[in-house]
């Protein structure tokens, strides 16, 4: 504005009007931003209230009774009794171990498959490359949950029903991971690998010693998305697992929720929910930036 107005002369009628207006405008602006901030705080409070309730309820002693169970106000001496009850009644320890096996098992195999495939698509030229790439991308649309019925038959045929490998196996190949690693490799300069190739390094040495160390940010982004997805997964393990010994955290929590019809158990349920959410929540708060970046990229995964 300042660049345009002086043309009319600093003493023009418009300028005089502006000068008279400015304090009012500024005040109005300040008022608006205060209203906006208050409104935003209210919405944020509303958004956070389910979590605030979980926190309050999980530390509330059982003696507080069920009438005030919904109160968000922590008007009590906090107790760990609910967590103790949840850990005792739900065999959460076992669920943690099973979930860890699933998450680590999926990730370990995926890291190998997506690195190899990503390297092939990024650096090698071969007939049918584009067709194969699109064949990979098809998995972004035919997401595993849509195929639970035939995949369950396959898992039964492979004698993997009611085993953790049966839960893990459908995720060994990842179109999203392949795509992400391909993009990561494409962004790396070729100088280093060319130097290594001239020194006579075989392809696997180039991938392992030259490319992968530089592609670490891509792998970490993929790991965050993969771990989050499989830590949170429910429907597929629910279909594959039948015996209590093989259940994961989400299955345990769901059973726990459906069992908690009585009013007294809400504190324990809140504690159980918190136990399931806690590891990812802590990791997120510690590495917020990385999480957010990974999730923005993961949009292609859907």
């Amino acid at each position: 504005m300042a660049e345009i107005l002086p043309d009319r002369g600093p003493s023009g009628p418009l300028m005089r009007m502006m000068r008279a207006w400015r304090p009012a405008v500024r005040q109005e602006k300040r008022l608006w931003s205060a209203v906006l901030a208050a409104l935003l705080s209210a919405v944020a409070f509303l958004w956070a209230s389910p979590f605030l309730w979980t926190l309050a309820a999980s530390f509330r002693p059982e003696s507080a009774g069920s009438a005030g169970m919904a109160s968000l106000w922590p008007d009590f001496t906090p107790t760990l009794a609910n967590f103790r009850n949840a850990l005792d009644s739900g065999s959460f320890g076992l669920y943690y171990v099973n979930t860890l096996i699933v998450v680590v098992g999926v990730l370990a195999v995926q890291c190998v498959t997506v690195s190899l495939a990503g390297y092939a698509f990024a650096r090698l030229r071969f007939p049918g490359r584009d067709v194969l790439f699109y064949a990979f991308l098809l998995q972004l649309m035919l997401v595993p949950p849509a195929l639970i019925v035939p995949n369950l038959s396959t898992v039964v045929d492979l004698h993997l029903y009611d085993t953790l490998p049966g839960v893990i196996a459908p995720y060994f190949a990842s179109a999203f991971g392949t795509f992400l690693m391909r993009q990561t490799f494409l962004a790396l300069p070729r100088d280093f690998e060319e130097a290594a190739a001239i020194d006579g390094a075989p392809w696997w040495a180039i991938v392992w010693y030259v490319l992968l160390p530089m592609a670490k940010p891509g792998l970490i982004a993929f790991a965050i998305v993969s771990v989050t997805a499989h830590w949170n997964e429910f429907l597929w393990p629910l279909m594959v697992i039948s015996s209590p010994d093989n259940q994961t955290l989400t299955i345990g929590l769901a059973a726990f929720t459906r069992g908690a019809e009585g009013g007294k158990e809400w504190g324990v349920l809140a504690a159980g929910t918190l136990l399931v959410m806690a590891p990812l929540a802590v990791a997120f708060i510690a590495f917020q930036r990385r999480f957010v970046d990974s999730f923005v990229f993961s949009g292609v995964k859907g």
Binding site: P50, V112, M141
Partner: protein, 312 residues
């Protein structure tokens, strides 16, 4: 220089080794892709072929009888099933009912928190956090929130003198309660894409509009929204895929009830296969939902590519 000499020697060695090495190098890409392809075939391509075949047969569960070919019989059965029709209709209402408010909220959140202040950072975390927790955990929380009389919602509604309906027990309300949960869970995730998209809106254009006297609403409507179109298209696609393939909350909260009011397509498939053991019906319904997924994705592939580029 000496380099030329070395190259000459190397060429000699390489010339002898070329045929073997070249053949091996020609196979290398396929060897690298093999592990991925094996599992893609096993758990993505073959399953589609498998449901295609299984949907044409009727295999009674537990009787040990051989499967009999029924042609399109399963499709006819599914399409005539009132529960399936209800699930398809519910899924449509659910998709639109979630999509519209989540998009509006996601954009509003993004606009509100895009400045890099401490306050914005806290808000961003609060809004995004629900999309990080398992859908099952969100369902557990909302199980209590929706609890009649003593639950979080009714407790605070009573304080301001209001009386809520039976959130999950009333068949007119239940689907909207599930929609509310999903909006809460997803809006923060899509907010991330709008934050990224907003960074690509050219500043000059916004400033030019400002100088031309466009107010905040006009700037949003005529400058920012058009610039965000690829982001919106992209978010719509991933949201639709999510809304067709996430039913964890339905399983935990309502089991499709009351009287099928919250039955969604994938829940119908899950129920047919896992609880009623009607594989033919489940296969037919799966194939139909796969067709819908492919239609959504392929129909918007071009937009999606543009959107993906827009998001970096």
């Amino acid at each position: 220089m000496s380099l030329a000499g070395t190259t000459g020697v190397l060429d000699g060695i390489q010339a002898a080794a070329v045929p073997v090495r070249r053949r091996r190098l020609r196979l290398l890409p396929f060897a690298l892709l093999a592990p991925s392809l094996l599992f893609l075939v096993l758990f993505t391509y073959l399953p589609v072929a498998r449901v295609l075949v299984e949907s044409l047969y009727d295999k009674p569960h537990g009787t040990g009888a051989a499967a009999s070919f029924v042609g399109l019989g399963n499709y006819a059965k599914v399409l005539a099933d009132p529960a399936f029709r209800q699930a398809a209709l519910n899924n449509l209402v659910y998709a639109v009912g979630v999509l519209v408010p989540t998009l509006v909220l996601a954009l509003a959140f993004a606009l509100a928190v895009q400045r890099s202040t401490r306050f914005s950072a806290v808000l961003r975390t609060v809004f995004f956090f629900p999309s990080l927790v398992p859908l099952v955990a969100a369902a557990s929380l909302f199980f209590f929130i929706f609890l009649p009389r003593v639950g979080l919602l009714d407790y605070y509604l009573a304080k301001i003198g209001l009386h809520g309906p039976n959130w999950l027990g009333d068949s007119d309300v239940a689907l909207w309660s599930v929609i509310g949960l999903t909006v809460w869970k997803n809006a923060g995730y899509y907010m991330l894409f709008y934050i990224a998209g907003l960074q690509n809106v050219p500043r000059d254009t916004v400033e030019a509009a400002m100088i031309d006297g466009a107010n905040a609403w006009q700037r949003l409507r005529f400058v920012i929204l058009p610039a965000l179109a690829p982001t919106t298209a992209f978010v719509v696609v991933i949201a639709l895929i999510q809304l067709l393939t996430n039913v964890d909350h339905v399983i935990v909260l309502t089991r499709g009830g009351p009287s099928n009011a919250t039955n969604l397509l994938l829940y119908y498939i899950f129920q047919s296969a896992h609880e009623n053991f009607e594989y033919g019906k489940a296969a037919a319904a799966t194939l139909m939902s796969v067709a819908v997924l492919l239609a959504i994705s392929l129909g918007s592939l071009r937009i999606m590519e543009r959107g993906a580029r827009g998001n970096g």
